[in-house]
Symmetry: C2
Subunit: 384 residues, 2 copies
């Protein structure tokens, strides 16, 4: 097995973007290529993650992106796993480099939906649930995560203010990230007084719909050394699944796929949760981050809220959770999100994170899931 590295990273701003899905993907890819110090011709294939290219009238994105980069002869594909598309695409590219099929790949995630409006987006996003059992009953994702939040409030010593604190923390981080969608300081009162979306979740408990594209260059360590730029190692890669519909699960205050994926990734990397310096986790709703930090092994089940309350997950505390601002503040262009998490880890571990730097960090992880965690991938990265 080859040692696999991230050699460069690029990203557009996340938010409401005017450029086309093709243009933003090419921008992020070109930035990643520049960051890596390579030529487009060094890339042997393109792994694109995207869910709703149809919203901008472009499916089969791979060849269009490769053609725009001037490497139309190179193969490409699109990978979709709902909101977890980016990390699943990263995982496939990782497997191909590790196996020795390619020495250098482009992994680009992208989404462009804000121009379609909230109704279109909410409806189509619901097609990512188990639609026969969930969406067709009128439940979309805020409702599903609200069920998880209500169960959590019932089972554990938690309050809605605890969830609100997750949003406050992630906005504090996002303010320090020039690429973030919502760069706005908020208070617990702001969250508590925002409109109820699906009780107990309020507007500020929810991540925004965002446009955006992120890209990284993945290569063998031999290739990275030859190029000579800053690189980090991918030391663990794990995947897992959960029953597609929330109703099929024994407990809804845990996400089985996160547990499976993180255990596999930690095992491959030869680490435990205690070794992780910072984590980019899937906080599509505030409740999700709380559940994630427990399922990833950072805190015991039911103790994630206590950790938030005590400030254990703020920047440069016990474990920095979502230094980028997370989905909540940085934004959530669903096909791009998982790749964007890798961009953040690359920036952190190569000293390019500026004021949001996690001090003395050597090990970072990404955790990204689709739907209510029906699919999940976790990756472990280490500085060289």
């Amino acid at each position: 097995m080859e040692s696999v590295c991230v050699l460069g990273a690029g990203s557009t701003k996340y938010g409401r973007l005017d450029d086309s899905i093709v243009d933003i993907t090419v921008q992020a890819s070109a930035d990643a290529i520049d960051s890596a110090g390579i030529e487009p011709g060094d890339i042997k294939a393109g792994y694109i993650s995207n869910v709703f290219g149809i919203a901008d009238k472009q499916v089969h994105l791979g060849p269009v992106i490769m053609s725009n980069l001037g490497i139309s002869d190179k193969p490409s594909l699109s990978i979709e796993s709902a909101c977890g598309s980016g990390s699943v695409s990263f995982r496939e590219a990782y497997a191909n480099v590790a196996a020795g099929f390619y020495d250098c790949l482009l992994v680009a995630g992208t989404e462009k939906v804000t121009h379609t409006g909230t109704e279109w987006t909410t409806t189509y996003f619901a097609y990512c649930s188990d639609f026969f059992h969930e969406g067709s009953a009128g439940v979309s994702f805020p409702g599903l995560f609200a069920s998880m939040a209500r169960a959590y409030l019932t089972e554990f010593d938690a309050t809605e203010e605890d969830f609100a604190q997750v949003a406050v923390k992630n906005h504090n981080n996002g303010i320090l990230n020039p690429k973030a969608h919502l760069r706005k300081k908020i208070t617990i009162d702001d969250v508590m007084s925002s409109a109820v979306v699906a009780s107990p979740l309020k507007l500020y408990d929810c991540c925004p719909f965002s446009d955006g594209a992120s890209a990284v260059i993945l290569c063998t360590e031999e290739f990275a050394k030859k190029v000579g730029g800053d690189y980090i190692r991918v030391t663990g890669s794990g995947r897992g699944g959960s029953p597609a519909a929330l109703q099929g699960r024994e407990h809804i205050t845990t996400i089985p796929s996160t547990v499976l994926a993180s255990k596999a990734a930690y095992k491959m990397a030869g680490i435990t949760a205690k070794d992780v310096d910072f984590a980019e986790v899937h906080d599509c709703f505030t409740i999700a981050e709380v559940v994630d930090t427990e399922d990833l092994g950072f805190f015991e089940k039911g103790k994630g809220v206590e950790a938030v309350r005590e400030g254990k997950t703020t920047l440069n505390s016990d474990i920095s959770i979502n230094p980028s601002g997370g989905l909540k503040s940085k934004g959530h262009p669903i096909g791009a999100t998982g790749v964007g998490q890798v961009v953040e880890v690359y920036d952190q571990l190569t000293d390019q994170a500026g004021p949001r730097t996690v001090n003395d960090a050597h090990i970072g992880i990404t955790h990204n899931f689709g739907a209510t965690g029906a699919s999940c991938a976790v990756h472990v990265f280490e500085s060289v």
Copy 2:
């Protein structure tokens, strides 16, 4: 590298289907599992290929399929490469088994679009072209392949009747395939007198819009031997790309990605085009099959029509092209097509093809592309 095998295969009928996209995919998958003689729990991950799940309100198909098969803990993903999705998904699964990441995978392709009507389908399929340069100018796939056909007629010694002969041949094969969509004998006159879709292509030069799902079980040879059923080896896997828009290509009577993918696949398998006994090729339009058989190295450039005219590509002639009936007669459920080709090769090489059997066949290939060949994958299979 592990020796990779196809251990089982299943498929729904192709055509207009009433069942949901989830149901048809589960049916094909369950058939493949039965055919392989394994239990669902033997499967370590699911590779799903699909383009327009939104047409049946189900994106993020992987976890829904895995949950319905009772293996919700196993990871899954969806892969899209337009009409070439199936073979690209197969390629990714192949790479993962070859690398030793998994010993047994489900590869399932699926599409459900006929209920949306021709206008929806034509419009959305056009999003698989380079939409900015092609679709937005009002050109959909019949127009693009008509351009290729017109160029071919101009450059080479060919007639519209030659193209028609491809349709006649593939219908002759499809009649022998109980899973085929259009099981109807046709004549050259039928083709020539059918409605003009985009001159010189007429209705009977075009494959139909189809629903359908196909699945195969991919595993290591060690796993296949332990199970003990019929299996075939995957001995070559190649991919390639072409400029996304037809206007970006130097010549439009050849598809560069086919040449790249087939050369790579033959090289890996240690064969030449002469060694191939039969081929399932991408005949979305009759002109495509002619161009394919040249680009795959079976005939010289410009001589593909002569081969058709002289009956060199009929069942059990020089080289049997599309014994299944091809996209033209068997049908083209776009996410399923590439996987369905593998089902045909499995049936042929394990003596399960009945009256359409290619006699004494030992080597078969699949050739499947997206759009006008912007993306392509070729695989070589050999009997044990």
